[in-house]
């Protein structure tokens, strides 16, 4: 079970970093640099990671018999900047 949890943590970390990259780097590069397609590319990358995270979170939560509220909280929180880090620290890092 620990490799599944570690995989979920890695996915949560990557997704959170990609969201921060999209919000704070890609948008700035589009506005001030000459990179018109960067938001589209980063957006697709982040979107794919988010979908992967949602599936893996549901799958892990089902196997670990998590309460539904925690799963819903995870989905909501991980779609916010820094939310993935918070969720990892609160629920994934010490189980």
């Amino acid at each position: 079970m620990s490799f599944k949890r570690n995989y979920l943590r890695l996915l949560a970390f990557s997704e959170s970093c990609s969201l921060l990259g999209l919000l704070f780097i890609a948008t700035l590069l589009r506005k001030f640099g000459d990179h018109p397609h960067i938001v589209k590319t980063m957006g697709a990358f982040h979107g794919a990671l988010f979908l992967m995270l949602v599936y893996s979170l549901f799958s892990y939560a089902y196997e670990s018999s998590w309460p539904k509220r925690r799963v819903m909280l995870g989905i909501v929180v991980m779609s916010l900047p820094f939310g993935g880090f918070w969720f990892d620290r609160k629920y994934l890092s010490h189980q």
């Binding site: 589209k40 957006g43 697709a44 979107g47 794919a48 979908l51 992967m52 599936y55 893996s56 799958s59």
Partner: protein, 153 residues
């Protein structure tokens, strides 16, 4: 968003198929040799479960937000049954893959509840069903709804 997701969906297909073929062969071997399904096998099945789940979600995102043929079907529902190309992309492909996904999860749940000796047989039958369903709904090149095997853009 549509093009990168299409590229990803096209390439993830190979990961799904490779994992599926390996697990099918593995479960057939264990069933034939009357050996139990091990925790290592379950871990590999989990890997397949993840890849297959991602693939279904990528496909769902394409279906819902991007595909021009599906958009046409949303605008005019009658097109689904009038145009076979629209029928395949708007209905047959997604529905068959969803059924395959459902069959996989139902079979997995049944096999989990059975003894390790019987599990290999149940996994083999489930994965065989999933393989046939997936193979029947992939847009193989040469068919009128065909797409390239390896998409580069």
């Amino acid at each position: 968003m549509y093009e990168p997701f299409l590229l990803l969906h096209s390439w993830t297909r190979w990961a799904v198929l490779l994992a599926l073929i390996y697990l099918l062969a593995r479960s057939a071997l264990l069933w034939r040799l009357q050996k139990p399904w091990t925790s290592k096998d379950s871990e590999l099945l989990w890997v397949f479960d993840q890849i297959f789940g991602y693939q279904v979600l990528f496909g769902f995102a394409l279906w819902l937000a991007g595909s021009p043929l599906v958009k046409a079907a949303f605008k005019e529902a009658g097109l689904i049954f009038d145009n076979s190309l629209v029928f395949f992309w708007a209905l047959r492909h997604p529905l068959t893959m969803l059924v395959a996904f459902g069959v996989f999860h139902m079979g997995k749940a049944r096999a989990k509840r059975s003894s390790p000796e019987k599990a290999a047989r149940l996994y083999f039958l489930t994965l065989l069903g999933v393989t046939l369903l997936i193979l029947s709904a992939i847009p193989w090149p040469g068919l009128f709804y065909g797409r390239p095997l390896f998409r580069w853009q």
